[in-house]
């Protein structure tokens, strides 16, 4: 019979990861994840569940990397109540991290993101089911940086869903017809990332929502600009946007202006600038 003081059997040894890095060495968990695992390992099942219920921001919040580790530690064992609760918390975390992309304002976009969210949850659950039988190395990435690994899954699903939605996956498909000259005027010297407003949550949230509406090529240009890549350079050793995306400097500038105009309009409509 379960007792509140029962200590789970599996936590004494924290199993090392098995995935190899691209360079050939083994991945290890970040030191803070490893330390948290050691701290949590001595808890009883009931205590662990209580901690896992805490929300992000609470000092005792259990990172998803650790939650995943405990779920995986049940591999090839019979599921019990503790496992069921941990499993459900983990799926809730996946749902939660995908749900904040779903806006109620735009019904079409909302539907697409709901479909993506459902697919991500399904794929993640499938990974867990496979891992329950045989170690799935791919899940090691999620024990290192859970949300970032999940973002990788998110973009894969996004590309597939969007491909079904509007067949807009090829960059070349995007470059049909040059934007009108008015667009260039509208874009002006707009610098959406280089503004004091960028430190404000509402502005950033609105900016990312605006970028999300851009076609793939424009989105890529904006991302490279955000990171400070130059559009072009005479030095052949410099990584430029133009060379990376295999487009002329003029094309890149044209689509940068078009993207800026779109973003500016959305930010203005949301009273963010």
């Amino acid at each position: 019979m379960a007792s509140k003081n029962d200590v789970r059997e599996h936590e004494v040894l924290i199993e090392p990861l098995r995935k190899l890095k691209l360079g050939g060495s083994l991945y290890t968990r970040p030191s803070e994840v490893e330390a948290k695992l050691l701290e949590l390992a001595s808890l009883s099942c009931d205590e662990l569940i209580t901690y896992c219920e805490l929300r992000q921001g609470d000092p005792a919040y259990v990172p998803s990397e650790c939650l995943l580790h405990f779920v995986r530690s049940y591999r090839a064992r019979m599921p019990d109540i503790c496992f069921e609760k941990l499993y459900k918390f983990l799926i809730e975390r996946v749902l939660s991290s995908c749900s904040n992309k779903i806006s109620n304002d735009d019904k079409t976009s909302s539907l697409i993101h709901s479909n993506i969210r459902d697919e991500v949850v399904g794929r993640f659950a499938e990974l867990l089911a496979h891992d329950f039988k045989d170690y799935v190395e791919k899940l090691d990435y999620y024990e290192i940086r859970f949300n970032d690994a999940l973002k990788k899954m998110y973009i894969d699903v996004y590309r597939q869903v969007k491909r079904g939605e509007d067949r807009l996956t090829s960059l070349d498909d995007q470059v049909t017809g040059e934007p009108k000259i008015e667009v260039e005027r509208a874009a002006g010297s707009f610098e959406p990332f280089n503004t004091s407003a960028f430190t404000e949550d509402d502005y950033r949230s609105c900016l990312y929502a605006a970028i999300d509406t851009l076609p793939p090529l424009e989105k890529k240009i904006i991302e490279m600009l955000r990171l400070g890549f130059p559009i072009d350079s005479k030095d052949p050793n410099v990584t430029t946007i133009s060379r990376t995306l295999s487009k002329s400097e003029k094309t890149i500038r044209t689509y940068r202006n078009k993207a800026f105009a779109t973003i500016r309009t959305i930010l203005e409509e949301a009273n963010q600038i």
Binding site: M1, A2, D6, R18, K19, L20, K21, L22, G23, G24, S25, R55, Q56, A76, M78, P79, D80, I81, C82, E84, Y87, K88, I91, E92, L95, S96, S97, N100, V121, A125, L128, A129, F132, K133, E137, K138, Y141, I144, R145, D148, A149, K151, K152, Y154, I155, R204, Y208, I211, P216, K219, K220, E223, M224, R226, L227, G228, F229, T239, T244, L245
Partner: protein, 193 residues
């Protein structure tokens, strides 16, 4: 393990990029230089990684709860089907405690232990309460109850003549046989006890 010498797949490259400790221009530049064939995915992922993840503060919707339950159900169905006996290590005292916590006579617990109860006749709230106390999932308890009782009962018979084939008993009949009063029986059947 994955070989470090073979050409890495798109999957491996993007996951590796996702978990890099120092994301930013230098890291992206290095990946773009080393894996130009995955340029599209790397830039898309770089953008996605720059986005903050905020946990949804809203309580779970009915739809979300259903998704979680559905994922769990699929997991249980895919899990190894070894049936465990949740009563195996239960002492007499623990069985008495279990009966007390579930508000039923000891003989009801004995019938469950010998999986003489028809699992589909047990009200779900009662089954779930018993599963929680036994630290097993409701599905696991149902699997245990669903086991055939022929083999075990046959072993326990010492009479010369072969007994009639045993059948499982409905939960309500079990309560009647255990002299549980009708009003309490009703509550147990409705899962409100």
């Amino acid at each position: 393990m994955t070989s470090g010498n073979s050409q890495p797949s798109r999957e491996d490259v993007l996951y590796a990029f996702a978990v890099e400790l120092t994301p930013g221009r230098d890291t992206l530049e290095r990946y773009l230089r080393d894996y130009p064939e995955y340029t599209d995915g790397l830039i898309d992922l770089s953008y996605e990684l720059s986005r903050e993840v905020r946990e949804d503060e809203m309580p779970l919707s009915v739809e979300q709860q259903a998704m979680i339950d559905s994922a769990w159900q699929q997991h249980v169905e895919a899990a190894p089907k070894e049936v465990i006996d949740p009563f195996a290590n239960l002492t007499v005292t623990a069985q008495r405690d279990l009966a007390r916590q579930l508000s039923v006579p000891r003989q009801v617990i004995t019938a469950f232990r010998e999986h003489r109860v028809e699992p589909n006749s047990v009200p779900l709230p009662f089954l779930k309460r018993m599963a929680v106390v036994l630290n097993i999932t409701a599905e696991g308890l149902r699997d245990f109850l669903g086991q055939s009782l022929d083999a075990e009962l046959m072993r326990s018979y010492k009479a010369d003549s072969r007994p009639e084939s045993p059948t499982k008993v409905d939960f309500e009949q079990l309560l009647i046989d255990a002299n549980v009063p009708p009003d309490k029986r009703k509550l147990l059947m409705e899962g409100e006890f």
